[in-house]
């Protein structure tokens, strides 16, 4: 009761401060003193940096008070400024959701074409302040923990399932946990020491490392039915949690489909699947209202069509998660390529990176 009252009082104080700071947010003043002092936005300060494998870096992050924690398997949007431009990417914390000091870890693998991952790999240092979003995502364990669980990952897709493993062991979970990870070689396995230590300390944790490029692992090559049977013969009775590159995801889906247990596979894509749209049924014209441009509908996403027409609409993720590209569709019908959902109302906000026109469409770009 007192805590509630105090919070109320603090909020009243905040409202007064904001009325004094209007039209600017109070954060626009506080951040000038120190970027971590903000009250409204979620930010996190990097408190330590480890380079675990040759191309990945692990950051320990101390979030500010706005951070509401995360559930193992969820991801968080991380924003950094690179040459003056804010870039955001999604990363999954790899630590236990039950950490006592409220800090969490992100492991970032530097991809050749990954601007943010390469920048973080080269420039992350103690004291760096990151922009964060609340944790989100449905790729999580049920609150009633399963008796047995199979966690499968590949490459840097290890982070959400690593978090699940650490959370379960932190909770003193007694059920069997099989952790199957795919890497090129042993040197490419993130958290190798931590994994071995966990497996040694907990009888119920079995660690299986599969190497695709060299011999010497517990398993060899890409995901197969044999791998699945070797890892978890009871796969049909419980859920499997899978996160990895598109190849692994597709391979595992095929195996589970063939075995008639597709419903047992829970997945998290961390690389966008290529968006395929049937160009056959593309009809009508796309009108870009603000720039007074019209082009025949090519069947591709509105973002791509706008770019093909020489326009430069804002965009971020290009996979429908960051809402940077959100624009107002003034008229016509569009389809969300992710779920086939139709947007038929005029004056509706749509994400142009994942929307394709169905017939004539006018959009305010």
């Amino acid at each position: 009761m007192t805590a509630q009252l105090e919070r109320k009082r603090r909020f009243r104080g905040l409202h007064l401060l904001e009325a004094l700071a209007t039209p600017h947010s109070i954060d626009r003043y506080l951040e000038l003193l120190h970027p971590m002092l903000v009250l409204r936005e979620i930010r996190g300060e990097v408190t330590s940096v480890h380079r675990t494998t040759r191309d990945s870096v692990t950051l320990t992050i101390r979030p500010n008070r706005r951070w509401r924690g995360f559930t193992a398997g969820q991801h968080v949007r991380v924003g950094v400024e690179i040459n003056g431009v804010r870039h955001t990417r999604y990363y999954s914390p790899a630590t236990s959701e039950r950490s006592r000091d409220g800090r969490f870890e992100l492991t970032v693998k530097a991809h050749d074409s990954g601007r943010v991952s390469r920048w973080l790999h080269a420039n992350a240092r103690r004291g760096l302040v990151l922009h964060l979003s609340p944790a989100e995502g449905e790729f999580t364990l049920p609150t009633t923990r399963p008796d047995r669980v199979l966690l499968v990952s590949g490459g840097s897709g290890i982070t959400p399932v690593m978090s699940m493993l650490r959370t379960l062991t932190d909770e003193g979970h007694h059920g069997e946990i099989v952790f199957l990870h795919y890497a090129y070689t042993e040197a490419d396995v993130p958290y190798l020491n931590a994994l071995r230590e966990l497996a040694a300390r907990h009888d119920n944790v079995r660690l299986l490392l599969a190497y695709t490029d060299v011999e010497g692992g517990d398993l060899h090559g890409f995901f197969t039915e044999e791998h699945l049977r070797a890892a978890a013969p009871w796969f049909a009775e419980t859920d499997t949690y899978l996160c990895g590159p598109p190849g692994l995801m597709a391979g595992a889906r095929q195996v589970f489909d063939r075995l008639g247990v597709a419903h047992r596979l829970r997945t998290e894509d961390f690389a966008p699947p290529p968006i395929t749209v049937d160009a056959e049924d593309a009809t009508g014209e796309v009108t870009f209202g603000r720039s007074a441009t019209t082009a025949p509908n090519s069947g591709r996403t509105l973002l791509e069509q706008a770019e093909a027409a020489g326009l430069k609409p804002e965009f971020g993720c290009r996979m429908g998660i960051c809402f940077t590209c959100t624009s107002v569709k003034t008229s016509g019908c569009t389809r969300d390529v992710r779920n086939g959902e139709l947007s038929t109302d005029p004056e509706e906000e749509i994400q142009i990176c994942v929307s394709v026109p169905v017939g004539d469409v006018a959009i305010d770009i």
């Binding site: 007064l16 009325a19 004094l20 209007t22 039209p23 600017h24 947010s25 626009r28 003043y29 000038l32 400024e81 040459n83 003056g84 431009v85 804010r86 870039h87 955001t88 804002e314 971020g316 940077t324």
Partner: protein
């Protein structure tokens, strides 16, 4: 009005468009960390001035604190509105993808709501710059600032209206978005202004509450002294912004255009109109910052969405391009440009025939004389 200036050939227009597009692309490619650092440095100075000003005014009954506080707050409001607000709301920093510096999210310390202003300014004024009947910034629907506006007795009050607009400039800018002139002629319906009016009400209320209730109340018995200081700071900003903005398009020599002339404009012709429809003010680097670099109105009108700190850097090149095509590059000191604007305000208050004889006798006579000789 356009008769004095050389019309370019279609090829020249195309070449002019290409020259300026190339310059624009070079600037875009070069945007980066330095521009981000610059705008954040300006923000830091502005916020420091604001906090210092508000702080000093906690002792507003002590005259030196009143003077220093009012001065700091005036500077803060000027920088907030001009180098930060005007430019950020133009989308000059949208490329940073920083919500705090995004044109869609930013609000300035001014009663005019950003959303309304952006429509009138970014779209109407910057697209239809100096086209009579389309650019509502020619006289703001109140003044007669161009011979092309037909005189009527209402305009006898031109200097008085201009003075009132100067004193209450932020309110003028706010009401401008209502398009009273269009409401009067029936081109726009009152009901269509519902959104605009709601935003005005909300923004105006918050601004008034801050400057005339909350901050004065925080100073207790010094309420009146603090409220007066805040009013003075708003007034100083009004006068300064009015002066700079009126020097942008109204000094002598700035061209206006007709709707016919500008039908089906090419890119080059659009650039041509922007250059001829704007005027610069010369001055020191600090002066330029205090004007929000609107002292480089020509460069601003060519590239309204490029960070304003770039305008002084390219001014030399733009001038050289003007010379290449024999186009005027209208610039002068603040006193020269302002007095030219003041003279125009007075002159246009009276019907044109009043000035015809005394002000333009030379040209008439020379022309007539020449005609006689030819004959």
């Amino acid at each position: 009005m356009t008769t004095k200036t050389p019309r370019l050939t279609p090829q020249q227009f195309e070449e002019l468009g290409k020259d300026l597009d190339a310059l624009r692309q070079r600037l875009l490619d070069d945007l980066g960390e330095e521009d981000r650092k610059y705008i954040y440095d300006v923000v830091k100075v502005q916020r420091a001035l604001e906090v210092a000003g508000r702080g000093l005014l906690m002792a507003s009954s002590f005259p030196p604190a009143w003077i220093a506080g009012t001065a700091a707050l005036s500077l803060s409001k000027i920088i907030d509105n001009m180098e930060i607000g005007h430019n950020v709301m133009h989308g000059q920093y949208d490329w940073m993808r920083d919500p705090a510096m995004n044109s869609k999210m930013f609000e300035w310390d001014n009663v005019a709501p950003g959303e309304n202003w952006k429509h009138s300014h970014n779209y109407i004024h910057h697209t239809y710059t100096n086209i009579l009947g389309k650019d509502r910034d020619i006289g703001y629907g109140v003044l007669r600032m161009d011979e092309g506006q037909r005189w009527n007795p209402y305009y006898l009050g031109n200097p008085a209206y201009a003075f009132a607009l100067m004193v209450f400039f932020e309110w003028g800018v706010m009401l401008h978005d209502l398009e009273v002139d269009n409401l009067r002629t029936g081109r726009k319906k009152w009901s269509e202004t519902a959104g605009v009016r709601r935003r005005m009400w909300h923004k105006g209320l918050k601004q008034v509450l801050k400057d005339y209730v909350l901050f004065p109340a925080l100073t207790g018995p010094q309420f009146v002294a603090t409220a007066t200081a805040n009013a003075t700071a708003n007034l100083v900003r009004n006068i300064w912004a009015f002066s700079i903005i009126f020097c942008g398009h109204f000094p002598t020599g700035v061209e206006s255009f007709t709707e016919d002339e500008t039908k089906d404009e090419t890119r080059g012709e659009w650039y041509f109109r922007q250059m001829l429809g704007s005027a610069n003010i010369s001055g020191s680097p600090l002066f330029h910052i205090m004007t929000g670099n609107l002292s480089h109105q020509i460069e601003h009108h060519l590239f309204p969405d490029i960070p304003a700190r770039r305008y002084p850097q390219i001014a030399g090149e733009v001038r050289a391009i003007c010379e290449k095509y024999g186009l005027p590059y209208n610039t002068g000191g603040l006193t020269k440009q302002l007095s030219s604007v003041a003279a125009k305000i007075v002159k246009l208050a009276l019907p044109d025939r009043f000035w015809r004889k005394p002000s333009n006798p030379g040209t008439r006579n020379v022309k007539e004389g020449r005609a006689l000789r030819v004959a």
